[in-house]
Amino acid sequence: MNRKLPFKTSDLKPSRRDFLRLSGASMAAMMMARYGVPPVFAQGMGDIPAELHPGSPNNPRGWTTALPPIPEGMPVDPPVTITGSRRGPWEFADGDDIENSNFTRLNAAVTGIIWKLAFSWTDNEEEVLQKYNLAIASNELPDFMETVPLQIYGELLDNDLVEDITEVWDAVADPVWLKEAWSFGGGAAWQHADVNGRKMSLPHTEQAAQNDKLLWIRQDWLDAVGMSIPTTIDELYQVAKAFVDADLGAGAEGSTIGIAAANNPVTWYSSLDPIFGAWGVMPGYWTPNEGGDLQYNSVLPEIKEVLALLRQWYAEGIFAQDYFTLRPPQTAFGQIGANTCGITMSPAFAALFGLPDSVTNDPSARWTWGDIPAGPTGIKKKAWSNPVVDSVFCFRKGFEHVDLVLKQIGWWAELLQNPENRYHGFEGTDYYWRDDDGEVDPMGANLDLASGYDGNKHIWGPPGTNGSALTEPRFETNWIKHRREVWANVPEDERDAYMEAFLGGDELSVLWDDANVFAVERWELDGIRNHFTTFPTRTMERAGASLADLEAETFVNIITGQASLDDFDSFASDWAAGGGDRITDEVNEWWHGQM
């Protein structure tokens, strides 16, 4: 995720893109007329015209983006037209669209590939299924299929509609930005893409550790009660209890909440997964037991111990009375942001989501973060956020230019993900220069990053697709390290505007950087992985929803004291009898078939 600088879309008037319409030559003429000096354009790579380059080499406070070497045999001549599907939505400058933008123009110059849109969809889950089903039914699959949901992928594989790319991959895939980037976790990236030892697609990977929890806590409240960051579950309880007893929160008397929690114990914000993890279990996950079989964690005796603890905490007012009705963003804005709560177990991005509101509402609020607390036996675990998304990139059976697409993907992966290239998007799309009056001006001294800056989403293929699909899951931490190790050493008066913007972050963005680097370091060490990574089994499809309801209801009832703790035992037997045993058999059948 990229950092956003304070900025409002409404500040941008259409005129901001006026200069973009000018071609390179007329722009040069305009600038010569205006400034009287010939502009210094970046050195063109081979035949790539300077106006197609990202970066701002001409601005005195700008930077030069280095383009990676053009892949062998490229650009192909004559150009090749390839059709592809895309996830939307998108907005472009005047006159540009998905098939004709800064990205496609540069891409065409580098690779010789002309992309045509076959179809697109927005975030909706049903919508993507609908569009792919229509494409399959009408026998008009695009050459390259972006973020294909597993359900569709399975259908395509069953009907032999997917191109086997094993040999082409071995021959042309970039060794660093594709092969090495996707080698983490002992081949975890390839869990869907690899089918019986053959590569049938490319993985869809996201940022590593993006959902891994840390302990976010109010430093000023810790100071007020004279305590330090808790390192064990017991200390966590003591601190939360002290916060509640001292009633440090904003709002009505007695409204302070100890620990933020949401309707699902294992979720993406204000989660309780590190508490379950402290007993080595994770509700809803399948993990191998000593005998090598996968077991469903939610029915294990350790869960009962955790529920007993949470039940006691709830009774003592550590959680909000109505915590089980809150969706995660409601805890972010309603508890953390509203300063009624000083502890949340949330990912590194909490520094950008929830915490800023807290600081806005109460400028004296000081946040800090720590590692998740350890359990009574010293176990310290959390839910592992799998960077491999349940979708793939695949090619139509019989498509002849897989090699070209792979080369393109490798080139963009290197351009976008190697911090040394200084790729920060295109002027006029991802950032603007403004003069002192706030008017857009390519020679202006003020850098203005576009809202929701996400400069890598407009080209087909993994590093550039919408939804921040990357090939290097440690992309963000690599950037943070580069900024800290390289940019920070540049003398202040030699820094360009971009370095300045990203080095001069406020307190929260520094916390975010620290937390992000730490979370990625612990990513593969502290995570409990869900080892069941395929389609729902037959019984899951039939009984899974009602079993999940039973589980959620039982957990809430036990924690809130509506049911006795021993109801857990009857839940475990009901779960087994209501399809759980059969699901376990089916899951293990798949699991042993894997090995």
């Binding site: 939505p89 907005e91 179809f119 009408s138 996201e206 959902n211 929701g452 939804g467 921040s468």
Partner: protein, 293 residues
């Protein structure tokens, strides 16, 4: 009318008024809530603190909605669809309903045509074959794909036909005696007399076009061509990020409940504005044509 003034009757009336008022308020409440959310600050709106009164009053959400290229484009597409689709609907409804409203003696084979339409109303080819037809006609990603497949709403046409049949025969006969053609009879007798029905059906058709979202989902392969409701549907669906990757856009969407509120209001107001103008026809119109003498 003689009023029954017994206490029970008055109690019953009062009870009805209260009940209906409560129902009316219940229908209004979600709209008022969304309106309040759309005028609230980002944080209180997302935290769910806003009920029926804005907190941290601001117009920023509307500014942002109006400034969005995607939103304004989908709005224009929706308006174009309503204008062209409704005109085409009404034109075809009237042209079809007129001959079918004639007696079988005046129009031989009328029954065959009526059954033809009724059959088409009850049965259709299904989603995929319809998609093929639209695609093979080259209509994908055009306004045509949204207005041509349902260019003649048959149910509305039957309502119109029944309305025409209730127009007294004598008017038409006297016009024919004076030498009027069918065109003249249609435009100068039937249409002026049928304004209530036409207003009603226009409203139905306009509302249908405004609210339709599914056809665009299928026929617009490029998301940039989505009309308003299809676009809205994709943004108001609540996200659950538990098992998916976090995307900066998703995070932004999660914290912009107020903006979504503003989008819903902007999308609803145009069609609400149409109602009062057609309302007086609407109530009398929907029962007219249903009863024949």
């Amino acid at each position: 009318m003689i009023r029954d003034s017994s206490w029970f009757s008055r109690f019953f009336d009062g009870f009805n008024y209260v009940l209906l008022t409560v129902f009316a308020l219940l229908c209004l409440a979600p709209m008022v809530h969304i309106f309040a959310v759309s005028l609230s600050g980002r944080a209180p709106a997302t935290a769910g603190f806003v009920s029926f009164w804005p907190i941290d009053f601001t117009l920023e959400n509307y500014e942002e909605v109006m400034g969005s290229r995607t939103f304004s484009r989908s709005f224009i597409i929706s308006v174009a669809r309503v204008l062209s689709g409704t005109s085409l609907n009404m034109f075809l409804i009237i042209l079809t309903a007129y001959p079918l409203s004639k007696t079988p003696r005046a129009f031989k084979g009328r029954a065959i045509f009526v059954w033809f339409f009724v059959f088409a109303m009850l049965f259709n080819g299904g989603l995929i074959p319809t998609f093929f037809v639209v695609r093979n006609l080259g209509l994908l990603n055009t306004l045509g794909s949204l207005i041509l497949p349902n260019a003649l709403p048959i149910f509305s046409m039957i309502l119109m036909m029944n309305f025409f049949r209730s127009v007294p025969k004598e008017l038409e006969e006297s016009a024919f005696i004076d030498g009027a053609s069918h065109w003249r009879v249609l435009w100068h007798i039937y249409i002026p007399l049928s304004l209530p029905a036409i207003a009603t059906l226009t409203l139905l058709s306009a509302v249908n076009h405004w609210n339709a979202w599914f056809d665009a989902l299928i026929y617009m392969t490029d998301v940039a061509n989505y009309p308003m409701q299809t676009y809205l549907r994709t943004i108001v669906v609540e996200l659950d990020l538990t098992n998916v990757g976090i995307d900066p856009r998703d995070l932004q969407r999660l914290s912009d409940r107020a903006i979504r509120g503003a989008q819903i209001i902007v999308a609803t107001v145009p069609i609400l504005v149409v109602y009062p103008f057609l309302q007086r026809y609407f109530i009398s119109g929907i029962v007219l044509g249903a009863v024949k003498e």
